[in-house]
Symmetry: C2
Subunit: 497 residues, 2 copies
């Protein structure tokens, strides 16, 4: 008994003594994760400071007496507006601010009308009629939120509409007081919204459109990196493995992290769609005009995803050195497959660079790479036709044959991506090539050519454009969670108040 | 001139005359889309009515005088809470309600503390100190919202924390008034939250957990449908095409809509993750216990997505009848490939049914189908090895060879899905097989067997379980937008106040 209690005492003492060091370890680990979060995207810190700034600005409404006397308790709506409207990107902040303002305005008008209508039916009838109106309007508005198009753009507005209408119509005040209340609510919301929008746009803005632009370029770059490396990884490592058969495995495993970058492309659909949604709200900024073709980015993104699905099936064949492979057949297709893979990778890298710099310059080399990869695909077809493999063991050629046929598909997919990027270049008026010595591939289409001819040359000399840089942090992120290389919450999937 | 104005007049008249019919057409098309939205998921109508009901209930706070006198203007917080907390699923409503309550409580406490601290520094120092505190707290809290784990669970809570803290600390009131104000705000929010949670749980509840369960089962079912039909579509239509070469093309094109169902599986990751997140907040309901293994659904979902990627590369080969195909080779692999495809389809169908009914019963046949498909895959390997195709044109066997090799991968993927579903069965205590005449595959693993033996038999006789039905609306939805077969917004990706 005594021994037990002594042990317990000792244990408790030990625990207490270990407490400071444990606490220290926890603090250090927390500090490390904060540091990593901030280093991954320094805009996160800036955004946090901007929220603090906007809130401090709106607090002036309370502290500066004349303003405070003017708005009274309603001033808190300005605080509330700043907290719920301020979002990471300008587009999302604008979307929320405008939705909130218009919804409040229309709900106030409708609410006062409903109140007036109900007051006509006497003191006893009024609550009943108002109750029915609130029920009907809330149910109908909630239902409209299920329409995908309305949901994408006006979901927040409808929510605020229901909220304001219910608050106005159930409040016990008379119609005259309501007018005053609505005026105060609307004006404080406008002030709060304006502070958000001004801080969001003028203090280190994060543009959703620019994020989408970077994301699409970086996704194509990730596919390019994979394709450039795939040939060497599959064909050369295989022959090395066959020669050495053991050792060096660790090195190749470590190397493979750069082959995982494409995985984040597989699940990028939602992020891209919501960024495009917010980008539509944004004013012209840098080289992005008001009606920048955001939809075209979604088209390119969808094609990039198609390509990523094919890469996913290629990826199965990396590192499966245990299956028998016919060296004869392997030798036949190795060179041409490596060429297809690396040339389409290079083409994609040029296309990514064209998007990144918003310039037609890289198109000439991209077109050349696309052509070479197509030629290689045709060479492969010829090589396959003429290869007379007698008494062939089909099982031994199966993996390489599948790789070859997937690469042929990837080449045609890259061609489609190239066409889509050319289309984007026309729609978004990319900078023209100065030495137009190589005809771009899409010049086969007369429509595109005509369209290109109509570009306003003033835009070309526009020195006001932003240099867009893409951070290729392919290896820094876990591929499953990293759909969004920079912006922590551009998707706006953030639930509010 | 006269003729022109007469034409204009006629045009205006025609436009005016056409107005009623145009208006009618618009109304009819709107009514049709409303009807479709409601028919796709009748729970949308019920949810809208529930929101109306909850709002009408909370209006009682205003109309019943004793309550109104008690809470005063703060009563509007109850209305606000109902509008912003009430969500489509119980889990989301609970998550928002609890986040809002706890955040308000802690922010009120901290805000009053801050106010007291600031008041010590005199009338001039108070606003400065409060401003600094608001700035620091808002910036720090906003930054914590970037941590993925915190974001997934407590994002809304942090937002409300910033909101309440700012409102409390910048309001011009004295500490005594603040206590009263905090009490009122907290109690009205609790009343509003309680109304939401009660209506959400007791009036036709939509459980996020059940939605996730159905979604995963339905996704596997979609893959199964594809695989069951693929063999016939690829091999038989091809031979028919070769025989007939024309006509009947339209029929096969019309038929293919059911082959598109799998596409929604490709992009289901986000929906599954947010449903799993909300499901964790839900109390036990039906056969789902409090600690139901929701994570295992994510694992099954990820495997199903892997399988969908492979199906995506299979799908390229359907309808490409223009490439040359070696009939000899085709004949060699046709039967065994069709067997692999249909048997793995059947296995998936049984696994979907096992999840759907939460019962071990379908496992025996699922295991049998998995075994048959594995045998078929081995047969294919043998057939490929022994097939001595002299002077073979590799290009002609390439498509079929790729299909065969992709099917081999799909068989192994289906085996993994089967293992994951067996694991789910153990973790979630599925109903046991009554006539245990077939040993399930996973009985090879002694751990699983032990675990299964420990199931509380009371659960088996539980008559209180919910019969879960899966709606296979594969053909009703456009495959790109239909990630979520029933719930219109289980993902909680809904921006609020």
């Amino acid at each position: 008994m005594e021994i037990e209690s002594a042990t317990q005492h000792k244990g408790a003492c030990g625990w207490l003594k270990a407490l400071p060091s444990r606490f220290k370890a926890k603090v250090i680990s927390a500090a490390k994760s904060i540091k990593k979060l901030a280093q991954d995207d320094p805009r996160r810190i800036i955004h946090s400071l901007k929220v603090g700034l906007a809130l401090t600005l709106v607090s002036l409404l309370y502290y500066v007496r004349p303003l405070y006397d003017g708005f009274g308790v309603s001033g808190m709506w300005a605080v509330l507006t700043v907290v719920v409207v301020f979002e990471f990107t300008v587009g999302q902040t604008l979307s929320r601010g405008l939705n909130r303002s218009f919804a409040t305005f229309s709900a106030c008008a409708l609410g006062i009308g409903a109140k007036h209508l109900a007051s006509l039916s006497g003191e006893k009838g009024e609550p009943i009629i108002l109750g029915i109106l609130v029920f009907l309007l809330a149910a109908a508005s909630t239902f409209t939120r299920f329409f995908p198009k309305i949901k994408a753009r006006y979901d927040y507005g409808i929510l605020i509409f229901i909220l304001t209408f219910s608050m106005i119509s159930v409040s016990g005040s008379r119609v005259e007081d309501l007018l005053e209340m609505s005026y105060q609510r609307l004006s404080t919301i406008l002030i709060g919204g304006a502070i958000c929008i001004i801080v969001s746009i003028f203090v280190c803005p994060n543009w959703a459109g620019q994020d989408l632009h970077k994301l699409v370029a970086s996704n194509i770059h990730k596919l390019a990196t994979y394709l450039e490396e795939f040939g060497g990884e599959y064909f050369q490592n295989r022959s090395e493995n066959e020669e050495e058969s053991c050792g060096g495995g660790d090195v190749s495993k470590n190397d493979k992290s750069f082959l995982q970058g494409y995985k984040s492309v597989l699940n990028s659909k939602n992020t891209e769609e919501s960024l495009a949604n917010f980008a539509r709200w944004e004013p012209a900024h840098g080289r992005f005009r008001l009606r920048h073709p955001w939809k075209q980015y979604l088209k390119i993104g969808a094609l990039a995803r198609q390509c990523a699905y094919k890469i996913e099936s290629l990826n199965v064949y990396i590192g499966t050195s245990d299956t028998k492979v016919s060296p004869e057949f392997h030798g036949t297709i190795q060179d041409v497959c490596m060429k297809m893979s690396s040339e389409s990778g290079r083409a994609l890298k040029e296309l990514a660079s064209a998007i990144k710099t918003m310039s037609d310059d890289p198109f000439s080399s991209a077109n050349a790479y696309v052509e070479t990869s197509k030629t290689a695909a045709n060479e492969l077809k010829v090589a396959l036709e003429s290869a007379s493999l007698n008494n062939v063991d089909i099982r031994a050629i199966l993996p390489s044959a599948t790789v070859a046929s997937t690469l042929i598909e990837i080449v045609s997919c890259v061609e489609k991506i190239s066409e889509a990027v050319h289309e984007l270049s026309n729609l978004a008026h990319f900078k023209k090539i100065r030495e137009a010595n190589v005809l771009p591939e899409s010049s086969k289409q007369p429509h595109n050519l005509l369209h290109r001819g109509s570009v306003n040359p003033v835009l070309d000399g526009d020195s006001n454009h932003v240099v867009i840089t893409i951070d290729h942090e392919t290896t820094d992120h876990s591929p499953e969670n990293d759909q969004n290389p920079k912006g922590p919450n551009p998707a706006g999937l953030r639930p509010q108040v």
